[in-house]
Symmetry: C2
Subunit: 343 residues, 2 copies
């Protein structure tokens, strides 16, 4: 028998130094070492000093997984967005990330690719990581996912749009934004505006803006016209949108695009075609991206405070995690109509 009889089982685990080893070197118990790190007020300064030196000496890296298991809370925040290709979500993520990171939380980023089944799966996974809170882009979930979010007993924040939320909600009223732009166009005297969006069944915030647009037109006795494209937000697709409007609705005098990428693409394409904007056709967008503010003529659009929305959402969640009362579970960040020279 070559095997050691006194020691039966094989050792597992990594070869990293543990808190117990640190404690031994520092000549204290492991709970004291733990406290020196996580609750420094509760240990004597000189003891703390010794513990920290031992950590330094051993190259100790705290095992956060073990800590989370023992304390039944992780400092994870789940953030679920439909896409990373869209600047809009990136900016919201930036706001969330900056605020949560500063408060010592780590973001777990999930990408649904506009698939709410995928979202459900991500929620399950993130709950499995004992995340402290969840942030989702939008109010649309599968029924099972809604149930899970409702019963998970953690702050749930739904960002981007306002509506019947599960818990916390920070966003803006997209239907009203659609109305606002439509009113602007009618106010400018345009009588045949066309709404141009892409994959409206996926991008349902764009479809809500369309609903607002349509409402205003119908109230004014004008028939709402719609062109639906395939790609969500690209300059090239915007150019295609312009061409399709010209082909289908030769009398159109204005285009209300679902976003600035499409609108800017159309604007640049109009230039190439020698079309005057807004003389031959007016163009409007949504988002207030820098690009739209930098083309000539400057794009009329609706600015939404995306990074601020992320920050505000994070602050609300942090307040809830800190057991402070959240007086306004629903917050409207609003939007601004920015009138450029394109309408």
């Amino acid at each position: 028998m070559s095997k050691n009889k006194t020691q039966s089982r094989q050792r597992r685990g990594s070869h990293q130094p543990t808190l117990a080893q640190v404690a031994e070197v520092a000549g204290v118990s492991s709970i004291t070492a733990s406290r020196a790190l996580n609750d420094p007020e509760r240990v004597n300064a000189s003891t703390r000093q010794r513990v920290l030196e031992a950590m330094e000496h051993l190259g100790y890296v705290p095992n956060l997984i073990a800590g989370s298991l023992a304390s039944a809370r992780s400092r994870f925040i789940a953030v679920i967005v439909p896409s990373l290709a869209n600047t809009v979500f990136i900016e919201v993520i930036k706001g969330l990330q900056a605020t949560f990171e500063a408060a010592g939380y780590q973001i777990l980023l999930g990408n649904t690719d506009y698939d709410i089944e995928r979202e459900h799966q991500l929620v399950r996974t993130f709950l499995g990581w004992s995340c402290s809170a969840l942030v989702t882009a939008g109010l649309k979930h599968t029924p099972a996912c809604r149930r899970l979010l409702k019963e998970c007993d953690r702050p749930v924040m739904e960002v981007m749009e306002l509506g019947e939320a599960l818990d916390l909600n920070v966003g803006l009223d997209h239907q009203e934004a659609g109305r606002c732009m439509a009113r602007h166009l009618l106010g400018r005297g345009y009588r045949q505006p066309v709404y141009v969006g892409a994959r409206l069944s996926d991008d349902y915030r764009a479809s809500m803006r369309y609903a607002g647009h349509r409402e205003v037109l119908q109230d004014a006795g004008i028939e709402p016209l719609l062109i639906e494209l395939d790609q969500l937000g690209s300059l090239e697709e915007g150019a295609r949108g312009l061409e399709r409007v010209q082909a289908h609705y030769p009398g159109a005098d204005a285009i209300h695009f679902a976003n600035d990428d499409l609108a800017s693409g159309a604007l640049l394409h109009a230039q190439r075609l020698g079309l005057r904007v807004p003389g031959d056709i007016a163009i409007a967008g949504f988002n207030g991206l820098p690009l739209g503010q930098y083309v000539t003529p400057r794009l009329t659009t609706i600015q939404s405070p995306r990074e601020a929305m992320g920050r505000l959402a994070a602050e609300q969640v942090l307040r809830r995690l800190d057991h402070q009362p959240v007086t306004q579970p629903q917050q409207d960040v609003g939007f601004t109509l920015m009138i450029g020279q394109s309408t």
Copy 2:
């Protein structure tokens, strides 16, 4: 005494159903329930069925933290980038995310804000989460961070640029890219090109491109000119760059911008100023962003395969995690000079 004497300690933990409870409902041991989930081949089909039903019935969500602690591996991949404001990193992240997510890994995203001390801290935190591998943007680290990365015994991937890497490395040669564009400009007959970058000490990849640019100019006996701006990548800052070039170097006949955002901003601004591009001044960029390909005149730039770089990097890491041999630890993804009408 109101306290129950038989049961001393207070219960901790969440109120979530556990594997043990699932196992009890299914009438098996918990390890069998575990296997039914993680290694389905190893349990009888009917047993598995019963276990899965019990999970469904109880609304069981696996506690991934406990699983990670027990198995000493988490399915986390640390991804550390200097900024989320830059499209370039977002696209690399997209490539990484898609590939890692498909393989069942979760990305832990860290943002250093161009601070390598912050990077070191993030590396420590992520090692604390027992991440399976680390991906960092760039080869620049603090000495302590290098040591940590070298000794952590996990795949370490450095993306973006090529050079003396710690372990795996996927990227492109920025100095060569700078040379390539400078050669193009000289080949076109420009004799007073100015390099315009922003915060070159932070954005050291841009400064490497400048080094290449300078080298070519010096070889040709031309004095290299440089303008340094404050904001890393914005259209507005590009316009400012154009104005500063005109003010400082009135004889300049070409501008080699550090990125397409700056270059596009300058291009759009030139239009407004009534400057002919490239007649009055030529403009070149770097990155191959869609915007640059969509302005008139089309921007001369260098296209780098960013999303593909992310995918390739992820595949290399996955191969390493899968114990497959990695024959080429360093991979050059190359770049393409795209000659537009702006030079």
